[in-house]
């Protein structure tokens, strides 16, 4: 087991395009780190540089206390689970799991003991004599994990391991991976584009966009204190609402009217003109069902569409954005692999809400959860550093515990 330390890692392809640009991440011993981002953000490339399947253009990669930049994959002592499992179809499940041990030249009885240990852990005992071709997707996935855990590797690397499974199995395997990692306490780097996996599995999550690290933080911090527009828009489903906003005193003008924000927030953004306000859908509510209306502001808006899901419902409220904000939001949509849609506010309402389509509804907004972003740079101007520091402290605390 070992820590992995990446220092100013750059990957440039032949055409000079930096697929990974100046990324520095320190993965503590035993930590579970997620690399997440939309397709083409360089997360898989970064993982493949850790394992040695891609050359590192510049920067320093350390595993434990060794610099591994120029080591071949087989000398790095890492175990990897590939997206398509990459099982050896001509070998039985047993021999697939035993493959790394046989290469290492271990004795037959030692191989047998380790393979049976791994297969018991992954409940593969009755499949040991079968060929991968006869296994279901979930079983193949477990064989691939067996091949990884059977070795005493310094770290596990996962490259979107669950993306080929159906939704139900994905949920089960996700829990399985989490349980396995906690039990073995092994350093893990896990690539995914699925934010549910990112949020549930990771001790910390690294969000990447076009090869650049956007934020490296705990899931909670990513959610509550996003560094910039991209992270704010990427994490959360349905995504955070972005509205054009101007601040005067502690009054914020939104397309639907003025709301009041906490004084501390307002001070940071005085005199900055047009901003982008970010509010998550759940920080709105039907004013009629809010128990504590004192904490926020209310405004009136015409609801276009309502989707009732039982425990909650989503209301959609279209609005017009000024061109400079619109341009930034379109760009953000493209960065997130989405399509530029009409600008609309998504509001999550309590299931008890009686708001219907076409109603002019009174909505309540929890303004102390509002973020204000610079429309030019996308930077979050209202980051609560204090919360961030607390999170950092908790993280270090858990890291020393583990």
């Amino acid at each position: 087991m070992a820590a992995i330390s990446m220092k100013n890692i750059v990957k440039k392809y032949g055409d000079g395009f930096p697929a990974v640009n100046d990324v520095s991440i320190d993965v503590a011993d035993g930590e579970f780190i997620i690399l997440v981002g939309p397709s083409g953000c360089g997360k898989s490339t970064l993982l493949r540089m850790i394992v040695g399947l891609e050359d590192i253009t510049s920067g320093e990669m350390r595993i434990g206390d060794r610099v591994v930049n120029d080591l071949a994959p087989r000398d790095r002592n890492l175990a990897m689970v590939f997206q398509n499992y990459a099982l050896y179809p001509h070998l039985t499940v047993y021999e697939n799991i035993a493959f790394p041990l046989r290469l290492a030249g271990e004795k037959d009885d030692e191989v047998d003991r380790k393979v049976r240990d791994a297969s018991a852990t992954l409940e593969l005992d009755e499949h040991l004599d079968r060929k991968p071709g006869n296994l279901s997707g979930g079983q193949r996935q477990r064989v691939a994990m067996g091949r990884a855990i059977v070795r005493d590797a310094d770290a596990f690397l996962f490259d979107e391991p669950l993306s080929n499974l159906d939704a139900k199995l994905r949920g089960q395997m996700r829990t399985e991976i989490a349980r396995l990692q906690r039990r073995l306490g092994i350093t893990t780097v896990y690539v995914t584009h699925d934010q549910t996996e990112a949020m549930t599995l990771g001790d910390r999550v690294a969000v990447l966009k076009r090869g650049v690290l956007q934020q490296l933080a705990t899931p909670r911090e990513l959610y509550t204190q996003p560094n910039n527009l991209f992270v704010a828009g990427f994490i959360g489903s349905p995504p955070m609402n972005f509205l054009p906003a101007t601040v005067e005193g502690d009054q914020v003008s939104l397309p639907f009217g003025k709301v009041r924000i906490p004084q501390a927030k307002a001070e940071r953004v005085q005199g900055r003109g047009l901003l982008i306000a970010g509010v998550r859908p759940e920080h709105f509510e039907d004013a009629d069902v809010v128990g504590k209306p004192g904490d926020g502001s209310t405004f009136r808006a015409k609801v276009d569409v309502v989707e009732w899901l039982g425990n909650e419902s989503y209301a959609y409220i279209p609005f017009e954005a000024p061109p400079e904000v619109q341009a930034q939001l379109d760009q953000l949509e493209r960065d997130l692999d989405g399509e530029a849609m009409r600008t609309q506010l998504v509001v999550s309402l309590d299931g008890a809400s009686r708001i219907r389509e076409g109603d002019e509804a009174e909505l309540w907004i929890e303004t102390d959860q509002m973020h204000l972003f610079d429309p030019e740079t996308g930077e979050n101007l209202t980051l609560d550093r204090k919360v961030e520091d607390n999170e950092q402290a908790t993280l270090e605390h858990t890291a020393t515990d583990g």
Partner: protein, 276 residues
């Protein structure tokens, strides 16, 4: 009606393909005179049936036995060398990006398209100079150069089908490039290797033009050439019955080889390597 169509079609094709072979077998059991004089024109050898006599005569012929050994030896060596070289070349072509890759592939194809006959007379002169005339290597080399392109094309298609991840997984698991090739890639490409081997072996076994021009004695003469030199007891009469028996004997090794290799050509061996 529909149910009958398929078996009927299969039967038609079978008859079409197998009739000449059946005829040869039938001829090989007829006596020499009956074939020459046409006294027993039917398919089944009735009053002219000679039993194994033709086969015995052919087998006792020293030259014919030598030619069988020549054919087997030359074809096997050419096949093994050609397939081994083609496996390495095809792997490089499928996996590596290098300058002139397309050139190599198209040249290989061009060589395969070259008419054999046009090369025979220059080769005859060359081999006389080099002392390769009427030797095994003298035939193995041209066979290899004509079968390599085909083998390379077949095999590189097979290698391309094998996902990159297989080797990468092997390397991460601790294999050297060579170990990854030998333990993962070659077993996966086995159907391709055997396909290439069969094609190569057929070419070498069936070749007549090289066989008759580049040999002069039984030191290297292969079966197809030897058959054309076949003379029975009467030099003025073509020994049709004996020729037929010799031809039947010449097909037996091919049948055995195909049956052996066929078991190895299991389609879809790679299924289950990856999802989908």
């Amino acid at each position: 009606m529909r149910k009958l169509a398929l078996p009927l079609g299969v039967l038609l094709v079978m008859v079409w393909c197998l009739l000449p072979i059946a005829w040869i077998v039938s001829l090989s059991f007829k006596s020499q005179e009956a074939v020459s004089n046409g006294t027993d024109p039917g398919f089944l050898p009735l009053d002219s049936f000679t039993g194994w006599e033709n086969y015995q005569t052919v087998w006792e012929d020293e030259q014919f036995r030598r030619s069988i050994i020549n054919s087997i030896g030359i074809s096997l060596i050419a096949t093994i060398l050609s397939v081994a070289l083609a496996t390495l070349a095809a792997y490089a072509i499928a996996r590596l990006e290098f300058r002139g890759k397309r050139f190599v592939l198209s040249t290989a194809l061009a060589i395969a398209m070259f008419p054999v006959v046009s090369l025979v007379s220059p080769l005859f002169d060359l081999w006389r100079q080099f002392g390769l005339y009427d030797t095994w290597p003298g035939l193995i080399i041209p066979y290899m150069s004509f079968t390599l392109p085909l083998a390379i094309w077949t095999l590189s298609a097979f290698f391309r089908e094998i996902p990159w991840e297989m080797e990468q997984a092997a390397q991460v698991d601790g294999a050297t490039s060579w170990q990854a090739f030998r333990k993962v890639i070659v077993p996966l490409a086995a159907p391709g290797v055997f396909t290439a081997a069969i094609l190569t072996f057929f070419f070498a076994w069936n070749d007549f033009v090289f066989g008759i021009t580049l040999t002069s004695t039984e030191a290297a003469r292969p079966i197809p050439a030897a058959l054309s030199f076949f003379v029975g007891p009467d030099p003025f009469q073509r020994p049709a019955g004996l020729l037929a028996a010799a031809a039947v004997i010449a097909t037996i090794p091919i049948v055995i080889i195909v049956l052996l290799f066929q078991r190895k050509i299991v389609a879809g061996l790679t299924s289950g390597a990856v999802k989908g």
